[in-house]
């Protein structure tokens, strides 16, 4: 198959209704902020629903969807390979995402996300214990 010429798709690709993004270029490794713009984590990986390995995809079947932002141990998996068992994955459901720009903004507060448990643990057990830890710098 010779070098395929880039067909400038004049044929009927409908004008994209919503925001078009490339997962790696626009979402991966971007900062996730919660509702109050407090950083929660960085998008270490994404989970896609509706792709079955090894199975033939019938033409016209519904496209896969992004189901979650993965973080925590997932960064190590992505860097050094290997797979964390689904149970141990730390995920932020994609439906909590309110906006995707140069950051991924969530529609909820970071306090009740399990992606923020390390921050809460360090805050409660270490930093919060040091005098002056709980009020604003003057």
């Amino acid at each position: 198959m010779t070098e395929a010429m880039n067909t400038n798709d004049a044929d009927a690709t409908r004008q994209p209704a919503g925001q078009v993004l490339d997962a790696h270029l626009h979402v991966l490794d971007r900062q996730v902020l919660d509702r109050d713009a407090v950083p929660v984590t960085t998008v270490d990986d994404l989970e896609l629903d509706g792709i079955e390995l090894g199975a033939r995809i019938e033409p016209g079947s519904p496209p896969p969807t992004v189901s979650a932002i993965l973080t925590g141990p997932q960064l190590a998996m992505r860097l050094f390979g290997g797979h964390a068992p689904a149970a141990r994955r730390i995920a932020i459901p994609w439906r909590l995402v309110a906006d995707i720009g140069t950051v991924v903004r969530l529609g909820v507060s970071g306090d009740d996300l399990d992606a923020g448990w390390v921050e809460r643990w360090v805050s409660r057990h270490l930093i919060g214990r040091i005098p002056g830890g709980r009020h604003d710098p003057e």
Partner: protein, 409 residues
Amino acid sequence: MKRLFAVALGVLTAIGGFVDIGDLVTNAVVGSRFGLGLAWVVLVGVVGICVYAQMAGRVAAVSGRATFEIIRERLGPRAGLANLAASFLINLLTVTAEIGGVALALQLATSVDPGWWIPVAAFGVWIVIWRAKFELLENVTGMLGLALIVFAVALFMLSPDWGQLAGQALQPGPPAEEPVATYWFYAVALFGAAMTPYEVFFFSSGAIEERWTVEDLAKSRLNVLVGFPLGGLLSIAIAGCAAVVLLPRAIDVTSLSQVVLPVAEAGGKVALAFVIVGILAATFGAALETTLSSGYTLAQYFGWSWGKFRRPARAARFHLAMIIGILIAVGILATGVDPILVTEYSVVFSAVALPLTYLPILIIANDREYMGDHVNGRAMNVVGQVYLVIILAAALTAIPLLIVTGAGA
């Protein structure tokens, strides 16, 4: 009038903030061996830090994203992690050198062994980061750092043979008696001292700490384009003083006490008091900046909550990382290692890490998705790419030169 004060404050802080233990030691060492022969490197480095800081500041102000967030986003996690490891270790080396610098400056004032001052200095750095507001920390150390202008005053008071100094400065290549490798080793070290990456991490994160908007860009451009060059001139004055007093006596600088000898020679006790206060403020300010930078780099890579404007409990891992950083620095100093030696290595490794932190900023400053129409102009891109080549050259030659010359022996 208030605006004028704010502008002046910004510029003065940039001057005071520019010079740290790396600039003090490296310029004195170079001055005591090459006179002003390497002054051109400081100029190249100052223009470079102006371009780099100005771009990083603009990116932070317009897109709200700090440098290391962008480094991870643009380089990807693997290259980002290598960059993080290099930057964090160099930051650690620099924090160690700065805290050591504070201890040495206190020794100059009290003749008490620096070992006693190290825990005091480290605690001082932590308590200021823990409690003081960002602007307060930045302005006080920046202003007091201005006392270093006494180096320029001392240079004039020494009434040197300006013709000879100019002759050294305009002499293109390495002087005859010095081996070429040593000349270029110190050129790279001086370049690394002028273009330290931590200054940009701090500068861009500071833009977010102080919630800069597009309007603040004009102010930041002034701070950078006036403050840093004056800081560069101060560095050249340090080298000049060493050239006039130490070079003729064949005194190779190996300790901070030698760096201040020319100032005492020129202006006696008053000048010496100024320079000691200036060094204390500059090294303490730089210790704050490098400690914060190590916190910023880690937090921005992993996506933690960070920032001095938040109470510590709301940026817990950020503060924890800094505390650990300070403790490691104290541990290194406790081994009795000579802070001056640590400083010389920290500036060389800064040169090595530069390309990895400079390239992503140059790219993002051209990305409309981040910058809208505040993207780089043609001129800035030309200068930006010229510096990319210079920075790569310095980075690639730094380690070989370090080995060949045995750290400039």
